[in-house]
Symmetry: C2
Amino acid sequence: MDLAKRRGFFWPSYEIYGGVAGFYDLGPLGTMLKNNIVNLWRKYFVLKHQDMVVEIETPIIAPEVVLRASGHLEHFTDPIVECLKCGRKYRADHLIEEQLKVKVEGLRGDELTKIIRESNLRCPSCGGELSKVMEFNLLFRTTIGPYSSDVGYLRPEAAQGMFTAFKRVYVALRERLPLGIAQIGRVARNEISPRQGMVRLREFTIMEVEFFHNPESDEPPWDRFSGKLRILPAELRARGEERPIEVDVNEAVTEGLIKSKWLGYWMCVARDFVHELGVDYGEMYFEEKMPYERAHYSVQTFDQLVRVSRWGWIEVSGHAYRTDYDLRRHMEFSGQDLTVFKPYPEPKLVEVKRVVVDRALLGRVLGGSLKELEEVLRKLRAEDVEKLLATGSGEVEVGGFRVPREAIRVVKEVEKASGVRIIPHVAEPSFGAERLVLVVLDKAYTEEGGRVVLRIPKAIAPIKVAVFPLVEREELISLAKRIYWELVDRGFTVLYDESGSIGRRYARADEIGVPFAITVDFQSLEDGTVTIRDRDTRQQVRVKIGELPNQLRGLLEG
Amino acid sequence: MDLAKRRGFFWPSYEIYGGVAGFYDLGPLGTMLKNNIVNLWRKYFVLKHQDMVVEIETPIIAPEVVLRASGHLEHFTDPIVECLKCGRKYRADHLIEEQLKVKVEGLRGDELTKIIRESNLRCPSCGGELSKVMEFNLLFRTTIGPYSSDVGYLRPEAAQGMFTAFKRVYVALRERLPLGIAQIGRVARNEISPRQGMVRLREFTIMEVEFFHNPESDEPPWDRFSGKLRILPAELRARGEERPIEVDVNEAVTEGLIKSKWLGYWMCVARDFVHELGVDYGEMYFEEKMPYERAHYSVQTFDQLVRVSRWGWIEVSGHAYRTDYDLRRHMEFSGQDLTVFKPYPEPKLVEVKRVVVDRALLGRVLGGSLKELEEVLRKLRAEDVEKLLATGSGEVEVGGFRVPREAIRVVKEVEKASGVRIIPHVAEPSFGAERLVLVVLDKAYTEEGGRVVLRIPKAIAPIKVAVFPLVEREELISLAKRIYWELVDRGFTVLYDESGSIGRRYARADEIGVPFAITVDFQSLEDGTVTIRDRDTRQQVRVKIGELPNQLRGLLEG
């Protein structure tokens, strides 16, 4: 952490004002590293899949209706208690876990309140009595425009921008499924009291794909990514197991351990992506979340965990099978049709359910409101109407109207269909970029004889090459600077350093992970060659100055 | 605009909910184009200046104190009136200008109110009476964490993150000036009622450099960028002149037309960057803002204007000479020292002003408060104390204390100094990325014989190459797909299209600006060559399939 601050990878934001918990700046090296990680992510999740994945960019601010539809207004909360004496606020579950050393994850607010009351937990700061546990919504709230009723929120995930734009993208791309929509951008989560520095941020860069597909038919391109996954299923966790098992992704899907083949596919992509960041396969696995740990929109979620030296196992990505939850909700809240038409290979006879109403009877009961009721019914699926009817006996309530049960029926009909309208299902891999910066630095950090060497994978190292004159002599400096500018012009990120002994300069470059250091020495003046030193092996080779760009490119690509 | 929506460049956000004014999504092609523009900006402003400019990334959410210090809480406002009958709100100056056809820019709120009263302006919607004009703050307001008193705002510019982190970056980079800190990221401005679609957004991507320098000594590298600038000075505008003059940047600086050489330097960089986006030098100029048009932090501002077919002249960048305003304000509000030490080549004798107090006299007047007063004085510059003393006669007020004038004196002393502490000055070039997307599309749009060709500069075209089988024949399709994947693996963005006539496919590719189209025909099967067609010349050349990646790279780089 000292190195990160001192050399400019990251530091707490607004330090001159004492900082604000949960906010970090990325410094010059941190920003370069993050940008390289983002581009590598883009390579794996977008470019290598450009036959079916596209990237879009949508706003951070969303109007209230979007986050009401998505379920976040209702569900995106953490439990909170307030001290009735000093007014301090605490995250209730964390307070209980810290004070009582018990696990309370998944308990409801009233259950947490009960524990607080029974254990007579008090405010850790002033000893005052604690309020009952309330739900604190983690959305940052604001107002759009001059009217205070136009409430908006900062998005807690990029996903909703992709769901609300789905139809537009689908049509622009000539109505093909499967269709992945990717987005890289800022999100914000108003954590109650974030600790853990860079691990738990209130604002961070998310990289996610909403992968829209027909769960019945679309098949992943297993020839690109497949193979073994280390997973820890919820069922095993429930039995106290803490070690992951290794399974072939296809078997895991077939056996139902992974409930969506696309979820499994993107987990394979995530595995290889994180591996390229410098994480051994043995130091990562996918932990299935327990039902009470999952977000409200997911029927199955795996977290990709990576072991780092400072925090143990931390989550670097989440893989949620969101089914058709989000599109369905947005259809309900917007009244728009977000289904897609899937033609059959050839027309076939299908059984469909249809809602039939007794208009004469309903007209007598409802009078002029009949039209309104019909409007409501049109928006419901026949299956939902069936369920509704099953609930009442003499009368049922539909859209605020009480009507006789026998006035509405769901009938089955057979018709010839050339295809079917479906709501696509969604598998979602989702990463936090800043946390990957941490992981890369943690994995790269090595100490050798009291010196730090950051063995950042060469392809994502912030600065690719250093240029040094062997000593501070004018001819050497002038040649070194010429080489510096030559490499800058060729698009390299280059460090020029002429101060201190050559050993110290190598050390300074190693400390920030520069893969290659070029030294201009007296021989350079004679024969136009320089040495290239490899950060990891410390081996040096001599090359012609004119061949540097190509040599370096070759070395960087391994 | 139709093309932009239909082919997926951009569209209004949250369309399924009727949209929200001032918010746009970038679609797949728009996002690629924007990313290419961002990278080109990075090349000009960061990579080509990597000896003195670094990029960082700071949060979008800022605590209140930061925006109080920056002056935005006080000054970042627009005038607003409310209808006292229906409650509708209007931007006061726009309402007056639309209704009365007069220019009112720069008038104060009370002056606008007077015009409304005297002209008996009423609510355009209901005819109701209008309130007096108030100032509406354009910052999106929110709360950080669970305490409602912890107010935060979305940043309206990226700049403040760079100012608050300045010292940290300066130290990490071994305390050198000049030092540019660049940032690319989202900002938000809560416009009262944005119109003009993509031109006036409430949320957009800013790309800016805060260039910290010593105005006395640091000299721009004129060998990299210099030459002629078309500018329209405020003085000429005041005289009704609307045509820019062409000046050499060095002369403009020498003659005082441009008040900072670094401001002029970055305007040259901006000129060439925007030119590479496809804008002729004759279709852009820099308009100096009148004093009442400038932001509160700037002593001189130029807007870079570009002529587009749809909106006429629009602003694509702003160039503000912020002096030491921001660092000075953050020093005052944070109490931290943000000065930098500039050593002299050799120690020299300098005259310094020093504040001397008569402690005996003040002790009698103030008693125990003397210490407090001394604390206040320590934070003031001697020059400021001098000014203060000049205001009073018998007594003066200093930090809330009234003290006898003769108890405080400013004396001049000569001392030997090895250097001086200065507050760096700042020149700031600032761009909006989405607006540049618009400009590029506007400039690229051409119609030829009823067909649209987007002549996007090849280096920033979203999709670089299209691959077509001449007809839908299995051997051709299979070879075309092999080429597609080969190019994807080499990092190209590629479009594969096999449906419809080859002419229609060329047209579809032209319409989204794909620079090169490869066609696989029957000759390809025989001799392993394909044709490459140039979007702009429509000329075709035949090349060996194996040479495609290098050929394309060469063609793209011109």
